[in-house]
Symmetry: C2
Subunit: 206 residues, 2 copies
């Protein structure tokens, strides 16, 4: 069995190494940004040399794709959990907003990294194509999640779920970016909270 299973065998340290590289990359991107992060940086942080990197990825973009997949899956799962049992609240819309924000308010870093990558994709067709594919999957799942939730709650939408999904993602991104510069009045209500409620109330009818 020399060149027998040319696709399956490669799996011993690989997996663990890739995982460590992804962690290191996420941290590095969060700290200095995607563009500014050198392959060297990422490897150093993970305790590797570039040799390890090029042994698993061909480019930084390829690594990002892997990272995107991992993080998105995690976030969708989290959101789904949070919307579970929402139909038993008396104001399900408010509850949904509340619950989702508790998670996402906490950690803005991934949104920012992801946003920066979208910007990067704006100038790199290949990256854009890859991102589009991953994003489409995310969008489909989020749409399903919204339709499902609104059905359970017994409210109908005045806007197609697909479009609503896009708007929510956009708003979430936009607010995150906004708040880098402008934290708003200290005691004031959360910007995203206000916006989401305003938007959802308008997008829902019984």
């Amino acid at each position: 069995m020399t060149a027998a299973d040319p696709e399956k065998r490669p799996k011993r340290r690989r997996e663990a190494t890739v995982e460590r590289l992804l962690d290191a990359a996420l941290e590095t991107f969060a700290e200095v940004g995607f563009a500014a992060a050198s392959v060297e940086d990422i490897c150093r942080r993970g305790g590797f040399t570039r040799g390890a990197f090029y042994s698993s990825f061909r480019t930084k973009d390829e690594l990002f794709a892997a990272l995107f997949t991992r993080e998105t899956a995690r976030n969708l799962a989290r959101t789904e959990e949070q919307l579970a049992g929402i139909e038993s609240e008396q104001d399900p819309v408010a509850a949904a907003v509340e619950r989702c924000l508790t998670t996402f308010r906490a950690d803005r870093t991934w949104v920012l990294v992801q946003t920066e990558y979208a910007l990067h994709a704006a100038r790199h067709p290949a990256a854009a194509a890859a991102l589009r594919e991953h994003t489409a999957a995310l969008h489909a799942q989020l749409t399903a999640l919204i339709e499902n939730a609104s059905a359970r709650v017994g409210l109908s939408l005045t806007v197609p779920a697909g479009q609503l999904a896009r708007i929510l993602l956009a708003l979430h991104d936009g607010v995150a970016v906004q708040q880098i510069t402008d934290a708003g009045p200290p005691g004031g209500p959360d910007l995203e909270h206000t916006a989401l409620l305003l938007l959802l109330r308008a997008a829902v009818s019984d």
Copy 2:
């Protein structure tokens, strides 16, 4: 009069050179992004060597500040023009959305550049401070513009104008980023249009 007017004299080619550098910078940022744009790149595009650059700016960030000021002033002026006479429309809200979008839909590049810079500022306190200052000015002017318009139209807001301004800016940013990847259904309605109408209708009462 040798070292007499140490602040006033410097002004012959300077002004024109700076202007050309700003133009070149905007183009370069649009094309390759802020982070990826080297000082060298910008100068080449403007037909200068780095000598010219360092003679007018100390850093790329300093140049960006100048650019931000210039572009923001232009955009605010444009918006103000477009909201003029809006009170004579029978659906002023729809008209406002319509008119503003005609301008901004056309050229997304500045939004993207600006967004990328916000991301950059997230990791660079000094940049953040500068940006915060400029942004505050923009925010104040936009708030005034909104208050003014809603007064003329005779509708009152269910949300403070200042907060509405923030939300609008966030949404505008978010949508722009969103649309890099996801142009939405081809024949479908503009995402920003939908979102803005939804939001403004909810934020306004007579």
